[in-house]
């Protein structure tokens, strides 16, 4: 091959290499940026006075005197809006029946929209569900709801042959000629005074329980559940995995049996996680009855079986990579095999073993399928460490799925879902980071 062609091939190869790295980087950015941006929105956002009221009533957080002052300030503007409502109600009474009927049917949606915006109206019976006791707790949501108050969404069904298009009708125009017409510009101009928006950092998102199935509050039970499940899985899988790896590398003789065991282990690593989930349900819960219901224990055991092959392989590789001379030196000094393994080989292999362990920990924290049937519930409070043997728990991975698909108000609480995603991604990243740091520290110690 002549030199020119070689150069061109060489260059194009590096171009393709750089290109694929760039594609990977862009993909990562496209995935990570919205997660981080939207996820941070669960903690850093512009809260309204409804949010502060909710926090005070549900969690006892906040300064009562300050809150009363703000409520009073907001109350002045709200009262004006309420009086417009009652004036219109009185006006409706005086209308002739047909007209009254027509306005009544239009007035209902206005009331509903206003309730969504600033909370229950005077005269409403107090709601039992917390979600109906407050207006919008987030300012950006309030602005969306304001649009719903100001405009009615209608569909243009005039063309029978195609799908209708949505268009908006100003509600003010619909109430033209009545006293209610003043309400719409009034609310539009004074919404900030009624809701007193303020930028806030709501760390409670990470430390509070949820209120009214995730409509308000935080995700602490989920974070705790994820932690329990992952740590529990490690408690079972790590010792077993390391012992199995020692057996494979130091004790097992190469033969049919060992190679069968090895390939069984590799096969296990490739089994889809939902299979482990169903296995966990059938074996741990229905057959062994490790607990009366789904529980953290059953979930941890299932996750442990799922990550066991990875831990065994990582530990095996780590042990095999310890230079043979270490072992020979130890044995030649008269040390026993057991002693050599415990004092020479394992410490030298520890960084690799731990890395494998922590990466498996991350995987255990993030898996959904194994815990659906064995441990996860969509609503439950944070459980104490004493309850892990018998109680199921909410967990981040499962609740993200639940909020994305099953929750009845999924569209209203996207921020909670994003917050959970970010929390889960951060936990897994932190675990991996700590694996890297731990490895570096131990390697340094071993060298030094």
């Amino acid at each position: 091959m002549n030199l020119g062609t070689r150069k061109i091939l060489d260059r194009s190869f590096s171009a393709v290499g750089i290109g694929s790295i760039a594609v990977m980087g862009i993909a990562l950015l496209i995935v990570i940026v919205p997660i981080v941006y939207n996820g941070l929105g669960a903690v850093f956002f512009t809260e309204t006075i409804e949010h502060r009221n909710m926090l005070y009533n549900e969690f006892g957080k906040g300064d009562k005197a300050e809150l009363d002052k703000e409520n009073a300030a907001a109350g002045i503007y709200r009262k004006e809006a309420y009086s417009m409502l009652s004036r219109f109600e009185a006006e409706m009474e005086t209308m002739e029946p047909v007209r009254q009927q027509e306005f009544r049917s239009k007035y209902g949606p206005v009331q509903t929209a206003l309730r969504h915006l600033i909370g229950p109206l005077p005269g409403d019976e107090e709601a039992i569900l917390t979600r109906y006791r407050y207006g919008q707790t987030r300012w950006e949501k309030a602005e969306e709801k304001l649009h719903e108050l100001l405009y009615e969404a209608k569909w243009d069904y005039s063309d029978p042959n195609s799908m209708a298009k949505e268009y908006f009708v100003s509600r003010a125009a619909e109430f033209e000629g009545t006293s209610l017409v003043r309400l719409f510009p009034y609310v539009e101009n004074n919404l900030d005074k009624m809701l007193q928006p303020r930028f806030t950092v709501y760390w409670g998102f990470l430390t509070d329980s949820s209120v009214d199935s995730h409509i308000f509050g935080g995700v602490w039970p989920e974070i705790q559940g994820t932690f329990f499940l992952a740590v529990g899985a490690m408690l079972f899988a790590f010792p077993l995995g390391v012992i199995a790896a020692i057996y494979f590398t130091e004790y097992a003789r190469d033969g049919f049996f060992t190679s069968m065991l090895r390939s069984a282990n590799s096969t296990l690593a490739g089994v889809p996680s939902i299979v482990f989930g169903l296995f966990g349900l059938a074996f741990f819960i229905n057959t062994l009855k490790v607990s009366e219901s789904k529980s953290v224990l059953a979930g941890s055991l299932t996750l442990a079986i799922m990550i066991l092959p990875t831990i065994i392989r990582a530990a095996e590789e780590a042990i095999l990579s310890v230079p043979k001379t270490y072992k020979e030196a130890s044995l030649s000094l008269g040390s026993t095999k057991w002693n050599t393994i415990m004092t020479v080989i394992l410490p030298a292999a520890l960084p690799g073993i731990l890395t494998g362990g922590v990466i498996s920990l991350g995987r255990a924290a993030g898996e959904t399928a194994p815990i659906i049937f064995t441990a996860a519930v969509s609503v439950g409070s944070a459980i104490g460490i004493a309850d892990v043997l018998s109680s199921p728990t909410p967990a981040l991975s499962w609740n993200i799925y639940n909020l994305a698909s099953e929750h009845e108000a999924a569209a209203e609480i996207r921020h909670v879902q994003y917050g959970m995603v970010l929390a889960l991604v951060s936990i897994v990243l932190l675990l991996n980071l700590s694996a890297i740091l731990l490895r570096a520290r131990i390697s340094k110690k071993l060298k030094g």
Partner: protein
């Protein structure tokens, strides 16, 4: 090796903490229907708030709820259909005696995308759509657009109710119907697909989808309660034997004023 000792120690501490006994009487485990889910979740928060009893709710579908009850892995199974004879027989053979409690009534709202001009369908038309006989909206008075049929998975009580109330035994749902795994998922799919049709519990209906009149009757609280809405069904909670203690207290919540208020605030119908 210091580090090993540290690891062993922390493992021992965690193990010791985990060994503490849990008070089994003061918790309730619920499993089952996604339709009953909102009621169960709201009851659970309210119950935990007022009595301090821990209640956990899983939404894995009516079929799984029934299985959990049969395997004695839950205290209360939420079902959006009656327990099948097969399930009752399986329960009996395992020494479980399922007792049914009707929590609320629910209409199965047949929903389409709001841009669809169709306002009402008859039961026969819905059946024809789901068997695959009618494939375009213009055959039932709508625009010219193919119909995307959305159904629920076989584990779903809502699916069972729909099949028995609308389809009947001799008209299987077309194989081309798309399957979604929960009420919320069906709603999202219909809300994002202009040609779609689906069916969801009344409590899940919001502005993103349009409920149709069925046989000329609007699905709402009144028509479901008085039985004029043709596709309505009760929602159940099942316990093993007559409930006692906190489970009884929980089940009885449906008869209290607060329980009734919660059910109607969620958009379901009190009995």
């Amino acid at each position: 090796m210091n580090l090993f000792r540290k690891i062993a120690f922390s493992a021992a501490v965690l193990g010791f903490m985990a060994a503490g006994t849990a008070d089994a009487a003061s918790k309730i485990v619920m499993d089952g229907s996604t339709t009953v889910g909102p009621i169960a979740k709201s009851f659970a928060s309210y119950f935990t708030k007022t009595t301090g009893v821990q209640v956990t709710v899983s939404e894995s579908g009516s079929g799984n709820g029934a299985k959990s009850l049969i395997n004695k892995t839950c205290d209360i199974a939420n079902l959006s259909r009656e327990m099948k004879d097969k399930e009752i027989a399986a329960a009996k053979s395992k020494g479980v005696n399922p007792v049914e409690h009707i929590v609320a009534l629910d209409g199965l709202a047949v929903v389409v995308h709001p841009s669809n001009r169709v306002q009402k369908l008859s039961k026969a038309q819905i059946r024809d759509i789901y068997t695959g006989k009618v494939t375009n909206w213009n055959q039932v008075g709508g625009p010219s657009a193919p119909i995307v049929k959305i159904q629920r998975e076989s584990n779903s009580g809502t699916q069972d109710s729909f099949v028995s109330l609308v389809m009947g035994k001799d008209n299987p749902v077309s194989k081309r119907a798309e399957t979604q795994a929960s009420n919320g998922a069906v709603k999202n799919r219909v809300a994002s697909t202009p040609g779609a049709i689906g069916f969801i519990g009344l409590g899940f209906v919001d502005d993103s989808v349009k409920p149709l009149k069925v046989d000329g009757v609007e699905p709402d609280e009144r028509t479901v309660r008085n039985g004029t809405y043709p596709i309505s069904r009760p929602l159940f909670m099942y316990t093993n034997g007559q409930p006692t203690g906190v489970v009884k207290q929980f089940i009885d919540l449906k008869n209290t004023a607060e329980g009734k208020r919660m059910i109607s605030e969620l958009g379901f119908v009190n009995r």
